[in-house]
């Protein structure tokens, strides 16, 4: 058992304990380590000013890479086992890195407050690409807000920056001895207390389950992309935090019997790579969803366990026969349970989980050849915005004459009720019919009648109804006309 979180920060070994370990990484860097280059603006993972690079050598994987994350909404404790690099760590002696040089020369910084975040996000991008085209650059920078430049000079900087061997942070910081120490230490569980909260990271699932049963009301801390926000905005950290980051089996994506089984520690970035072939539409959607910083940290299980009615992956999981897999202790033995999606959501932010249950996996169907699946999301801003309405529609069809007869229909929406919902009535109305524009119109009207969304700051209930209807109509058009 360790009482510290072990990290390598800009190549320097740090054991972080107690109160310090349960600070947000960004606050710790700024106030405790004195690295004030990292800026905190929104403290909710929406602006990217706090971007740092993280490389997490995880048990079996031998290719580790630096990826951008938001330091404002993750505790130092969760960074246990990581290499971290901040803006202070990328200059090589007196020489600016290629990204720094380009940002400077292309007038990519004005007030400078967002600049370290952009520099780090671009540095992360150049760890994966020797150079960037505009589209790739923008995709890496979706999670960084700038209020001064209008982004154009930053894109120019991104286009002119070329990776150089001397400045590769992987080359500079992923030292063998350090990495093997990080991996070796992953075998030890971590227990950190700050006087109020306890952070426990067990090395095995069994330990985790015992902790859960002994500490009802515990909270699993995944990426903390939501928990961190709540803490920053005034809610104290929960009393008992359980981190699964040392349990290597939870980093796996398994494919069996046309089902995809995703471990609780699988990030959305990793998931996108893994499901590109089996679920291409879901992979495409994951591309559009959230920022790279969030996707490099947040997990699919977290998106579900958060139980929000507008979790962006939920409509997909609803139509893909999603299930969560949970473990708990019953009579001293580990008990496993599966809960399928419609049953999982009891109400607003309420899940059908026992107080001591831990979600270990989520599973869903591969998208098969005869299924037509589309996922949609509407938000005020196209990228990195919480959806007003989202939808996933899946039809299983067989050809009949020139048309397509619907064998099975599954329609799911987020943002139209207190929980993500399937629409059985509309599904029934499609079943066994041949899709044509008249049917699309009828079903869309039925959708309008069935759902009862609320008005909030993202849109009125009427707008949400119109959106739900129009998204289905769009789907219908796309199915009909390809």
């Amino acid at each position: 058992m360790r009482e510290f979180s072990l990290i390598y920060l800009n190549g320097i070994r740090k054991e972080v304990r107690g109160i310090e370990a349960l600070l947000m990484l960004g606050d710790w860097l700024r106030k405790e380590v004195g690295l004030t280059g990292t800026k905190i603006v929104c403290a909710e993972g929406d602006c990217g000013a706090c971007t740092v690079l993280r490389a997490f050598p995880q048990g079996k994987s031998n290719s580790i890479q630096f990826e951008a994350i938001n330091s404002c909404i993750t505790t130092v404790a969760q960074m246990d086992g990581s290499h971290l690099v901040t803006v202070e760590g990328i200059q090589n002696g007196d020489e600016l890195s290629p990204v720094q040089k380009a940002m400077r020369e292309c007038h990519g910084s004005q007030c400078g407050y967002c600049t370290p975040g952009f520099v780090m996000a671009l540095t992360g991008a150049l760890e994966k690409h020797q150079s960037l085209d505009a589209k790739t650059a923008c995709n890496y920078l979706t999670g960084n807000l700038c209020r001064c430049t209008g982004y154009q000079p930053i894109i120019e900087a991104a286009l002119s920056a070329k990776q150089s061997e001397d400045h590769s942070v992987s080359k500079r910081y992923l030292k063998k001895e350090a990495t093997s120490e990080l991996i070796q230490k992953q075998r030890d569980s971590v227990l950190i207390k700050n006087g109020f909260s306890t952070f426990f990271a067990p090395a095995t699932l069994e330990e985790a389950v015992h902790f859960a049963s002994e500490n009802p009301g515990f909270k699993v801390i995944g990426a903390a992309t939501d928990l961190g926000v709540q803490t920053n905005k005034g809610k104290p950290l929960p009393k008992n935090l359980l981190s699964l980051h040392l349990i290597s089996e939870l980093y796996e994506v398994r494919k069996e019997n046309k089902r995809i089984m995703v471990g609780a520690r699988v990030t959305l970035s990793q998931l996108r790579r893994e499901v590109e072939k089996t679920n291409p539409e879901f992979a495409r959607f994951l591309n559009l969803f959230a920022s790279p910083q969030i996707k490099n940290a947040a997990t699919l299980v977290g998106n579900i366990a958060n139980a929000s009615p507008i979790g962006d992956t939920l409509p997909f999981l609803l139509v893909s026969r999603g299930k969560v897999h949970a473990v708990s202790i019953e009579d001293g033995a580990v008990k496993r349970r599966e809960i399928s999606f419609p049953d999982l959501f009891l109400g607003y932010k309420k899940l059908a989980l026992e107080p001591s249950e831990i979600i270990t996996h989520v599973s869903f169907d591969e998208t098969s050849q005869n299924q037509i699946l589309k996922i949609y999301k509407v938000s005020q801003r196209k990228d990195l915005d919480i959806s007003t309405v989202s939808g996933a529609f899946l039809l299983k069809t067989v050809s009949q004459g020139t048309g397509k007869k619907i064998e099975e229909a599954r329609l799911a929406f987020g943002g139209v009720a207190a929980t993500p919902v399937r629409l059985p009535e509309a599904e029934k109305a499609l079943q066994g019919k041949v899709l044509d524009s008249k049917l699309i119109q009828e079903v869309s009207e039925l959708i309008g009648k069935t759902i009862a969304p609320q008005t909030d700051l993202r849109g009125s209930k009427t707008y949400r109804k119109v959106l739900a209807m129009n998204l289905f109509k769009r789907y219908g058009r796309e199915v009909l006309h390809g």
């Binding site: 004030t36 803006v87 400077r104 910084s109 400078g112 509407v378 801003r381």
Partner: protein, 797 residues
Amino acid sequence: MADDLKGLPNIASDPHDSSLSHVTGRSEYIDDRPLLKREILCGLVYSPYARAKLKKLDFSESLRIPGVVGVVTANDVSTNMWGTIFQDQPVLASTEVQYAGEVVAVLGAESPEALRAGLSHVTVEWEKLPAILSVDEAIAKKSFIGEERTISRGDVVEALKKSPKKLAGIVKIQGADHFYLESQAAVVYPKEDGQLEVHSSTQHPTETQHVVAKACGVPFKDVVCIAKRLGGGFGGKESQAAPIAAFAALMAKKMGRPARLALSKDDDMVITGKRNPFQIFYEVGFNPDGKIVALDAKLFSDGGAYADLSTSIMERAMLHSDNAYFISNMRVSGQVCRTNYHPHTAFRGFGGPKGVALIESILEDIARVTGKDALDIRKLNCYKPGEDITHYGQKVENNLLPGLFEKLEIDSGYRRRREEIKAWNQKVIKDGGNPRGLSLTAVKFGISFTTRFLNQGNALVIIHTDGSVQVSTGAVEMGQGVNSRIASIVAEEFGLPISSIRMMPTSTEKNANTSPTAASSGTDINGAAAQKACLEIKRRLAALALRLKEIPKEKWPSKTAGLGTAPEIEIAKDLETAHSQVSFENGKVVLKNTAFALPFAELVREAYLNRISLSEYGHYRIPNLGFDKLKGKGQAFLYYTQGVAASEVEIDRDTGEVKVKRVDILMDLGRPINYGLDVGQVTGGFIQGMGWVTTENLVYNQDGYLLSHSPSTYKIPSIQDIPRVFNANLVHNEGNTVNVKSTKAVGEPPLLLCLSVWTAIRDAIMSCRGNEIVPMEIPATSERVLRALAPEEFQDL
């Protein structure tokens, strides 16, 4: 004209003077200052209600929490009233609050955790009172700030009566949050004898100094306010930084310990005022060809609970309701409304964007009525020789507008794209699809504060004996590059490389009685003041150089001053004439038409040893200004910054989401001092404005409390939102000789070109709605756009 400026020789494009520290993370902002051992962290207690009586405010529980050290309330404030124009706002409210977010107390603690706990244990009881939460309500109740003002020319009533065509309507414009990345912040160090050293993220160190001094009850001389750099300002830190600094100062003074207040983004957005919302009622008369003959407009703005800068903002809106267009009969009146929202304030463009929105929207509507292209309507009405006097009586000199329209029309392929879009939308009407719109709008932005006395600046230039130079001015660096531009001016005057110039933090102990860095004026007034100071020093150095040439080197001060073996050199008689015979270039001081040249640093040393001052204080005032606010007539501006932009948008037919496909901008910035910095202002200002007219939606609850108070709910443009094609070019214009280095101010004007996105959205909607006039509120959110495009879909739901 016609030339693009890009690639012209002799236009510098040096990196921003802070760029090195920006990209390495070493730039220091307020909250990056190291915490001192006994420093207090401050947090604010504010009202959740638009208007309420403060029934109870009790800190006894908070103060029992370990680490919570003190509290400041209205009782601790010496002069508890401030305001830039009208002193109508308490620093800390005492018995009643007028807006949700109004601060009643400052709590101090020794750690963030203690502060958080302390704030959650304050006992506050409120009694809600009726509040005014809309402009309509304020008008009905005659709840106003200041008097109604009118600017008028011709006989509008008569002209409207005779006008062959008329339109009337309402333009509704919402506010916007500044969303500077660095939220409001200040650190205050108490010094001996009651002095206070204030480090503030402020655009107006002088006002911050004054507000702090009055709140703390000390003379101005005992407060020094320093602003090294700001992580963005955009007008939001012009007036509203002052109370933030006062909160920290009151705590520092009361506790005798350093105190820091760095707002969270959420608190900042709830507490501070926004761009003023406007509601404009208008009637316009025009000829069948689209020529406007009369415009009668009544502007109402939402000033929020206190006056702040709203009356000045209204004035600028009225002065910009003509924009680039000559309107022979025009009457524009303006009235600020008092509501129960945060006091709204300056935001890039001030009132300008609102006046311009009105006229650009009207021109778009006239195009619908006449069946002509909106660009032709604009060109027809554009200021041109013979039609170049504004409604307030100022002549539009150096008018490049007609040429800018012509050039961008060609450069952007406007006519061809118009035809393509017409055909596209015909198809959309027939077969469905996403409507497209195209619009080309202009800006003519008046440069100068409309309040005459603000048009002054001062600068301190100090040359050290190694020949390096420090410059201090009243200008605040907030990203716009004002320090880089001033450094360029000074470097050019002395013939030195820019690396020899160090711009010092803006501080009221070096530059007092300064104007805010606002109204795009930073470089103009402070750069001109610095230039004046340089010229004075150069006169002295030139006179000395002239005399040195006549003296054998062994008699020079460097050889004689130490022992006093030669008399001091007298330069008085050459002071008036010498500088015309001397040039400062490439680090040398050269006597023209002679072989005599001295390295700058060497001459500087000789000057020091000869007891010649190497420092100078320059004061500059913009000449020839004379605008009578009560009559609404006169020379309001020194010159106009002009530009045009063409924007093309596509609307998602199913969702109302808007995509800006292409933007072409062409601006006249005179002779830029720094090309790269200027273009950065253009792209940045445009995109900032684009957010205001599209996705940035301020949503309040029924208590007037802002719900969209963080980036998860308040959506400024992201990198994915910028136009797929984005061209920003400058034209070549050396004619603005009235301004320092013939340059033109750039900070605000490009923002106003964002209205082309808004009018393009209207174009798209109206093109697909049989060319009927469809109003559109700012911002054109997806929901508003879809409602305007397909109102029938919203019925019976």
